[in-house]
Symmetry: C2
Subunit: 338 residues, 2 copies
């Protein structure tokens, strides 16, 4: 029931996802009358879906703390509980981000060795795709959070991008060791010790994101959130300039007609719907947050992220890696910050 | 002598600027033999230029603290001293940013009421141009720094963009009052009290930068630097996608030929050289930092920023405003953070 166009785009997105992943079964939480009609309108979806009725829903403006206390029987809380109880492999929501994070932390809990979950998502780059985290779950991050994000992001890149040993960079204001904020410098000191699961590249800068210099960009949630939205805004600005350019004369209109197909392909590469589905990493279960304003195609992609993570056994792999890190590194990690 | 292509592009940039601003006189600091020849190759530049010879220069890799201690007779230090001594109205350099800031702070000093200078620059937006600061001078910013940046940025927008009462926004992870980091929330509480010199819009998010939601975007130097470089990287990425699209077939090549002129105009709107010339605001003198990798056209634009600020009496206006703010607001400002 979450997001700007729910439940319509959620059901339509499930229908698209069902054609892509015929083995997936959907548990939908919400108003049965509204959802039921939408499901019946999609060929084949009814057989792949169970609806659990509730009339309550978290709204976009609810404070996370309020949603947590008063939202026991909302569609969001019930869907998260289904993951906790093993009824669902993962949850996908287009609803209130803060509430989804707060409820997930309390209900599903974090993995051993993880203090705080982070929000991660993919970005298009000059050479492919990269992961960035945290995109806004934690406005303040200490050295341990950043080190944990590196491990979470690397496991995510391995599981969804299929990279054997992803490279990890810490986002900073310069490449030199002496530059930047204290937690970032301390995290670099720990990560330089090395890991069997990823290669630490060192510091990276803002322009490295679009360049795809590393597979995983680690940053605090304040900077990450602002960077993410700045990039989205810049893509929108450039696209608008492009539109104006093609509309500027008869000749440019003709040029557009000639190149229309190629441009459609280009815009698809930057389409935010393609990169929809931010993942809450570090929880003891799979939670994927869809953009609230997305459409059915975008929501289907968010479902795809959850399916990929489940199919690749993401949380099992991550749990093993965290346990081995905890066994090897605790002294190093503490020493570096004392 | 600073930057990747000095002194060639500096002298060539001065020649371009001289045609735009025939009344400006240049004091150039550096190796007289190398500079002299370049000046003589530019028609009319010799008469508008005085060269002060020094063989020493700060290099790009010098640590600011080292440059400060050992760089007494470098071209950078001497040019800054010329501003301090009233020999020059402002200094423009494509050299080492950290060294330029450190030397400027010690030699020129900050204005009364300003704890730390900030780096500011213009951005293209959907509706025109906006200013953002700090772009990297201060990786940690407290509430007072942010409030001072708002005043500095507003005075800059007024002086260079000619806006009577610019709007100011604090960059944050959400528009709601409860969101974000403590210093940002505290700064908002002070800025909400109002100012005769600018309108405070409240919190803005990353996508508001490209939208041009406000005239002045205030942010800490860590986030600002990473955001700036992310935006530059995204423009480069989009441009590369565009190039690939136009090269993808014979038809698209033809389309490019048809629209070439219009595209040249579009790219000019996003041309980083157009926005070259980051200003160190809050100093008791005008200091403009050109991108180290720019060309003569870009360097001329950086000179243009210094000329505009001088012509509009930027620092006199700012000093008056700071004095009136100090008289009105100190109690409020202190109360809000205690």
């Amino acid at each position: 029931m979450g997001g700007d166009h729910a439940p319509e785009i959620v059901v339509a997105g499930a229908a698209i996802a069902q054609r892509r992943f015929p083995d997936v079964h959907f548990l939908m939480f919400g108003d049965e009358r509204r959802i039921g009609r939408l499901i019946d309108a999609e060929a084949g979806l009814r057989a792949a879906t169970t609806v659990r009725h509730t009339e309550l829903a978290v709204s976009a403006d609810d404070r996370p703390s309020v949603a947590l206390r008063q939202g026991r029987n909302t569609s969001m809380q019930l869907s998260i509980n289904a993951v906790r109880d093993g009824d669902a492999a993962g949850v996908v929501s287009a609803g209130n981000t803060g509430a989804l994070m707060a409820m997930s932390k309390v209900s599903i809990k974090t993995l051993p060795g993880i203090d705080r979950p982070a929000i991660a998502a993919f970005f298009p780059t000059l050479v492919g795709e990269s992961v960035m985290l945290d995109l806004g779950a934690n406005v303040e991050c200490d050295v341990h959070n950043l080190v944990q994000f590196a491990m979470l992001g690397a496991a995510f890149a391995r599981s969804v991008l299929g990279l054997e040993r992803p490279t990890v960079g810490l986002v900073n204001v310069g490449a030199e060791e002496a530059k930047g904020r204290e937690p970032v410098k301390q995290a670099a000191a720990i990560l330089r010790e090395g890991s069997p699961y990823f290669g630490f590249h060192g510091f990276v800068e803002g322009n490295d994101i679009a360049n795809g210099t590393v597979d995983v960009f680690v940053v605090d949630g304040f900077t990450g959130n602002i960077t993410l939205k700045s990039i989205e805004g810049t893509v929108k600005l450039y696209t608008e300039y492009l539109r104006q350019t093609f509309k500027s004369s008869l000749t440019t209109r003709l040029a557009f007609l000639l190149a229309r197909r190629a441009f459609k392909k280009m815009r698809a590469r930057l389409d935010p719907r393609r990169y929809n589905g931010a993942t809450f990493l570090g929880l003891n279960g799979i939670v994927v947050k869809s953009h609230g304003g997305t459409d059915a195609f975008g929501f289907a992609n968010a479902i795809g992220v959850a399916v990929d993570m489940t199919a690749n056994g993401f949380n099992d792999i991550l749990t093993r890696e965290l346990a081995s890190f905890a066994a090897e590194q605790p002294t190093k990690a503490r020493a570096a910050v004392s």
